[in-house]
Point group: C2
Chain length 404, copies 2
C-alpha cells in the first residue's frame, strides 16, 4: 500500500490494563512526527465512539498531559464491550471516510483485532485507502502470535505482589487462604501468583488453571496435604476453572448472572472464592479458611506497573505508527523475545490473531495440574520485573528453660 | 522505676500491617544500643510464643536482615488472635521471669495494650521489675489517645490507589462498582477511599461507614441519584456497616460464620459486596453492577507503603525502647501531630488505651452520612502520602460531520 495522507484515529476496546494508555500515547506522539498524518483523533469508548463520531483531537494535547495519562491505568479514551459485526464495521467505515481518516489504530485483545480485520476488508472492498493496525493489549496474555501481551506484565506484577503479601499474612496467622484471579480461558495471570515466592515453603502452594479440569475432591485432598505438612495453605485459583465437561465450577451456584454473549459473570463477584472456602470448611477440620477475589484491582490498581511492560506498551503504539506510516502495512503488532531479556516488534497478519485464544504452554504446568513449572517462572519473570524486597527474620532460636 | 538490666522481649499481636515489622526492627536496633539490655528476644506468634517459650535471639540478626524484614509486610515474628486473660498473663509472666526478661514490647492494637496492662500489673503484684510498653499498630486507626496509628497510613494508601484505579476503570466501562473495605467499628480505612479523587466527578461517589446506620433503601436511592447524574457510580462500603439496631448488614445473609468471640466473619468473604450488588440489580434498572472485596491485600500487599507511615512505625519502636531504657517508664506510645505535617511521640498510660475503640470524628462525615468531608481529607492526606500521578486526556472535541 502507498503511504497515505490523512488523519489517524486511535481507540481502545475491551477490559482496561494498567499500561493501555502508554500504547495510545505511543501512537499519538509517534503520529505527530509524520507530516502525512494531518491530525490524530482519539475515539471515546472504542468502536462505539467511532459510530457516534465522538472524537478528541489529540493533536492538541500537550506532551505533559500525554505523559501523565500514559502512567494512568485504565483506558483514558474510554472503552466498550461492543463486538462489531459486519454492519457495525460498515457504519464505522463511513464515519472514517467522512473524516478522511486514513489510519486506524485499535488497541485491544483478540476481538479488537477481529474488528480491525473486518474494517480493513470493508475499506478494500470499497476501494477506500485505509490502513488498520491492531495494537495488542490484554491482562490475560491470551493473544496468539506474540511472545506476550502488553498489560499482562503489570497485572502479573500486581498478582505476584498480592500473593507475596497474602503468603506473609498467612504465615503470620496460619490457615487456608484462597484468592481468585482473573482469566476465563487462559491461566497466565493466575500462574503469575507464583512469582512472589522466595523461600521453599512460600505460597501459593497450589495453583489451579483453566487449562486443567478442576476436580473439587482432588482440590480438597490437595489442600489437606499441604495443610498437614505446613500447617497452612495459600491457593491461587483462576476464575475460569472448569470441570471435565468444560462447565465453569462457579455454575454449580444458583442464580449466576450471564452477560449479553451468554457468558457467566466471573469477575466482580466473590462467589467462586466463597464456594471453594465453604467446600474446604465442609470437607476438612481446618477452621480458619479465607477467600479473596482480586477483582478489578488486577487491571486498574493505580501505581503497580512493570517497567518493561510500560516500555513495551509504549513501543507497540510507536511501532504501529511506523509500520503504517513508513511501510503502509496493515496488521497486528507482535512482540518477539530476543535473548534474556530484550524484544523486537513485528507486524503479523490480522487474520492470524483475530478471535483466537492462546493457552498456557504444556511445559508451564506441573504434571499434577496444581502448580506451575520453572519454565513458566523463567518466561514470566522479565515481564513482571523485579518485585519489592521481602525477607524473614534470620536469627537463632533461644533454648527453652521451663518447657524443655 | 529504676533502669533495669536484663533482656528485652518483642512480640506482635492481632492483624498484620504493611509496616508492623518496622516497629519490631525499631525496637531491636534501638535496644541493641543500650548495654543494660543484654539480649533482644522476639516471641513467635505473639503472646502464644511467650507461653511456649518460642523465642528468636534478635541480638544475632544482621542489620541488613533486619532492614529487609522492616520493608516486608505482615508480622515477621508471626501473630496470634489469642486474647490473654489474667491466668494466661500469669503464665506469660513466669516465662519472662525464667528468662530474666525485664522489658516487654508488644506491638498490636487495643487488645494488645490490654495484655500489656495486665502483665505489667502482675509484675508489680509479684514484686518483679518489668517494664511493659505497648507499641501501637492497626490498619483500622481505632486506638484512642493517638493522632493516628502506624499501619493505617499504608493501608489508606492502598485503599486510595485501589479506588483511584477502580474509578478510572469504571469511567472507561461505566456501571456501578462497589468495593468493600475492612473496618468492623471504625470507618477510617473506608473513608481513605476518597483520597484518590482528582477531578470533581471522580469516585468514590458514595462512602458508607460503620459510624452511621446503613439503610438499604436509602443506599439504592443514593446510587440511583449518582447514576442518573453521571451514568456511573463508585461506592466504598465498610465491612462493618450496620442497621439502626446495630446489627451488621451482612447478618441478613444466612449461614454466616462466627468466630470464637462470637464475632461475625466480615473479612475473607465476598458476601457483603455480592449482597449489595444483588440489591441494586433487583431494585434498579442498572445492568452493569460489580462488587469487589478488597480483602487481605489492604493490610499485606507487598510494595504499597506510605513513607510517613514507615518512618513513624520505625519511630514508635525506637521511642518505646527509649521511654523504657532511659526513663524506666511503662505505657503506650502515642503519636501527636505537630503543625502540617510533623509528629512527636508521647507515652500515655496503658489503661487509657486498653480495650477502647476510637471512631471517626463527627466533623469527618458529611451530614447525609454517605461521604467524607474536607476535614477528613486534610487529616488523612499526610498519613497516606502522595499518590501516583493520574490524568485525563485534555484535548478539544472534534466537530461531528455525519450526525450533527
Amino acid at each position: 500500500m502507498a503511504k497515505l495522507t490523512g488523519k489517524a484515529l486511535v481507540a481502545q476496546g475491551g477490559g482496561p490494563t494498567a499500561v493501555i494508555n502508554q500504547s495510545v500515547v505511543g501512537v499519538v506522539l509517534e503520529a505527530r512526527r509524520f507530516p502525512i498524518i494531518t491530525h490524530v483523533y482519539g475515539a471515546r469508548h472504542g468502536v462505539r465512539g467511532v459510530l457516534e463520531e465522538s472524537f478528541l483531537d489529540l493533536s492538541e494535547a500537550t506532551a505533559q498531559n500525554l505523559e501523565d495519562v500514559a502512567v494512568t491505568p485504565a483506558s483514558g479514551l474510554g472503552s466498550t464491550r461492543d463486538k462489531p459485526d459486519i454492519e457495525y464495521c460498515q457504519k464505522m467505515f463511513k464515519v472514517m471516510q467522512a473524516h478522511d481518516i486514513r489510519y486506524f489504530f485499535y488497541c485491544g485483545g483478540n476481538d479488537s483485532s477481529d474488528t480491525c480485520r473486518i474494517v480493513n476488508e470493508q475499506a478494500k472492498t470499497t476501494g477506500y485507502d485505509l490502513c488498520c493496525i491492531h495494537v495488542p493489549k490484554t491482562i490475560d496474555n491470551d493473544l496468539v502470535g506474540t511472545d506476550h501481551c502488553p498489560g499482562f506484565g503489570s497485572a502479573a506484577k500486581f498478582v505476584a505482589q498480592a500473593f507475596a503479601g497474602a503468603n506473609l499474612d498467612n504465615r503470620a496467622l496460619p490457615g487456608v487462604y484462597i484468592a481468585v484471579v482473573m482469566g476465563r480461558h487462559a491461566g497466565f495471570l493466575t500462574a503469575a501468583a507464583a512469582l512472589g515466592r522466595k523461600f521453599e515453603d512460600d505460597g501459593p502452594h497450589l495453583i489451579y488453571l483453566p487449562e486443567r479440569a478442576f476436580d473439587p475432591d482432588k482440590f480438597v485432598a490437595d489442600v489437606q496435604k499441604v495443610y498437614d505438612q505446613l500447617g497452612r495453605c495459600v491457593i491461587a485459583v483462576s476464575e475460569g476453572v472448569s470441570d471435565k465437561s468444560g462447565a465453569p465450577i462457579i455454575t454449580t451456584l444458583k442464580g449466576v448472572e450471564k452477560d449479553s454473549h451468554g457468558n457467566v459473570q466471573l469477575s466482580g463477584t466473590g462467589a467462586l472464592g466463597d464456594l471453594l472456602a465453604d467446600r474446604i470448611k465442609a470437607k476438612t477440620k481446618i477452621k480458619r479458611v479465607r477467600a479473596d477475589t482480586l477483582g478489578y484491582l488486577q487491571r486498574s490498581f493505580l501505581g503497580c506497573i512493570s517497567t518493561s511492560d510500560a516500555e513495551e506498551a509504549r513501543a507497540v503504539g510507536q511501532r504501529a505508527v511506523q509500520f503504517a506510516a513508513i511501510h503502509g502495512q496493515a496488521g497486528s503488532v507482535a512482540i518477539k523475545r530476543v535473548a534474556n531479556y530484550a524484544v523486537n516488534y513485528e507486524l503479523i497478519p490480522l487474520e492470524s490473531v483475530a478471535a483466537k485464544t492462546r493457552h498456557m504452554d504444556e511445559s508451564f504446568i506441573n504434571p499434577e495440574g496444581n502448580n506451575v513449572t520453572q519454565a513458566f517462572l523463567d518466561y514470566c519473570h522479565p515481564l513482571a520485573g523485579e518485585l519489592p524486597v521481602q525477607d524473614r527474620f534470620q536469627a537463632p532460636r533461644v533454648a527453652k528453660i521451663l518447657s524443655k
